[in-house]
């Protein structure tokens, strides 16, 4: 299935500034694996050393959080959008 993975601003430094990456995948896990294979520097920003998704990064299929679906086993269909949404803190100063 062709799905689009949207890369958030803070992580675009690791995807050659690309805003989204199109990959072939049947599950969220496969899609993220395809993206991190293509852009290996992205991997440590998404996954901890034991391969788990980092707790300050959330992943959505369309507008649903995969933590409340089947996590990385969540299936995707053609045309779905996967969003990576990391925690950002900027605001008041600097």
């Amino acid at each position: 299935m062709a799905v689009k993975v949207i890369i958030p601003t803070p992580l675009r430094a690791y995807t050659g500034k690309r805003e989204s990456v199109d990959v072939q995948a049947a599950t969220v896990g496969e899609a993220l694996s395809a993206v991190t294979t293509q852009f290996s520097d992205l991997k440590k920003h998404l996954f901890s050393d034991d391969g788990r998704l980092r707790s300050f990064v959330n992943v959505y299929v369309n507008d649903e959080d995969i933590r409340y679906l089947q996590k990385d086993q969540t299936s995707v269909k053609a045309g779905d959008t996967i969003s990576i949404v990391p925690s950002i803190a900027g605001g008041a100063r600097d």
Binding site: P8, T9, P10, A13, E19, H45, R54, S55, F56, N58, Y60, D63, E64, D65, R67, Y68, S83, V85, P86, S87, I88, A89, G90, G91, A92, R93, D94
Partner: protein, 398 residues
């Protein structure tokens, strides 16, 4: 007593202003009064509302201006910073003549001038686990416009413990996130992100930059949500995370769910009081980096003296090309991220001094090059900022 949307309104005799408008106030708020969604009822709710704004920077500026203009009766401002020149690009509460003044004083003056009918509480304090609950207690709604993870978790936990809504906005470069946490039965910040990123993994605005108008848009959305919560109209951003991308000029919305296992708002909560948020966010570890201690350093004055003497020193600038355009000291530019691929461009037999803006990135570069076998290498202490201070004041600081 609660409104339809769950935000407490005035209880008689708790020091709130009278539930009536003067002739001057009727004139001032007439564009609110003539629209049915606000009307006299809504305007009186605004007058009796108490909102606490954490931070008077990029987000707090439009927020404070619109809340004051709208007639929110009591606005608390918490900040401990001083206005500097780099703030003026986006912190529209301040003018050039405010540089050097405490933000809280400049902000309070500006808001009192905008609307003398309301009360401004200028709280010049650093928000902490010791004072947060006491400060928050007097207000109906807390608006989070801070710039760091420890304060974000502190604001969240204090709001959840006190049962107060937390109007959240955060920004990075040209992207923003906005939602309302801490609402009855709604999710909190920890439901969204149980833990902060480790220090250094996510760049701050100081490193990453921010489009000046972005906090204006995000802070204005926070103001709109705050006003809606007070008047009890419309659909609040509860359980919805609004993402804004100023470059693509796109808004997207994601569903936010209450995490049943959340440590602060879940069914089996384990957090029942405020904690040490610097420790929670791992900040202490960052302040005492162990790796930097064995990195050889050279001061800007020393480097200048040695270059003047004609010593053969190769100056390596590891910043980004757009930073090089702002100012440079004629170093050879290889951005830190490209160093592994371009290390062959360097001659390990020559003496190398690496520099960046402040010395942090170049310390990483020196560490990397040491591991790659370079021996005659040192780090310019304090970076190009120190060069500007100690050697050549014509080099602009940024």
């Amino acid at each position: 007593m609660a409104t339809k949307t769950g935000v407490p309104v005035a209880a008689p005799g708790d020091g709130r202003p009278d539930a009536k408008l003067s002739k001057e106030e009727v004139l001032r708020y007439s564009r609110h009064l003539i629209m049915p969604e606000v009307g006299m009822e809504g305007q009186l709710k605004l007058k009796q509302a108490r909102v606490l704004c954490i931070g008077t920077g990029g987000l707090g500026a439009p927020l404070g201006l619109y809340l004051a203009a709208a007639g929110v009766g009591q606005i608390g401002l918490v900040d401990f910073d001083v206005v500097d020149f780099t703030n003026l690009q986006r912190q529209v509460l301040f003018g050039t003549s405010d540089v050097g003044r405490p933000k809280i004083t400049a902000a309070a003056d500006r808001l009192r001038n905008l609307n003398p009918e309301i009360r401004i509480d200028a709280i010049e304090e650093r928000l902490s686990s010791e004072n947060a609950l006491e400060l928050f207690r007097d207000y109906d709604i807390i608006v989070d416009g801070t710039d760091n993870f420890p304060t974000r978790y502190l604001v969240n936990d204090a709001c959840v413990l006190l049962g107060k809504p937390n109007v959240y906005g955060s920004i990075f470069r040209f992207e923003g996130q906005i939602t309302v946490f801490g609402y009855p039965d709604g999710p909190c910040y920890r439901c969204l992100y149980p833990e902060p990123p480790p220090p250094g993994l996510v760049p701050s605005c100081a490193e990453g930059g921010v489009l000046g108008v972005l906090p204006g848009i995000v802070g204005t959305i926070q103001a709109a949500e705050t006003l809606k919560l007070i008047i009890g109209k419309g659909q609040p951003l509860v359980g919805r995370l609004l993402l804004f991308d100023a470059l693509g000029m796109k808004f997207r919305e994601l569903k936010l769910r209450k995490n049943p296992d959340c440590p602060v708002c879940g069914e089996n909560r384990t957090l029942t009081k405020l904690i040490d948020y610097a420790e929670f966010c791992g900040i202490r570890g960052e302040e005492a980096p162990s790796t930097v201690t064995n990195i050889p350093e050279i001061t800007a004055r020393e480097l200048k003296a040695r270059l003047d003497r004609g010593d053969d020193i190769y100056v390596l600038d590891v910043r980004e090309p757009h930073e090089y355009q702002i100012c440079n000291i004629h170093g050879h530019l290889i951005p830190l991220g490209e160093l592994p691929q371009r290390v062959h461009e360097l001659d390990s037999s020559r003496e190398i001094v690496a520099h960046c803006k402040s010395g942090k990135r170049s310390a990483q570069a020196v560490e990397f090059l040491q591991k790659a076998g370079f021996r005659k290498i040192s780090n310019l202490k304090g970076g190009i900022l120190a060069w500007s201070d100690e050697v050549d004041p014509s080099v602009p600081k940024y």
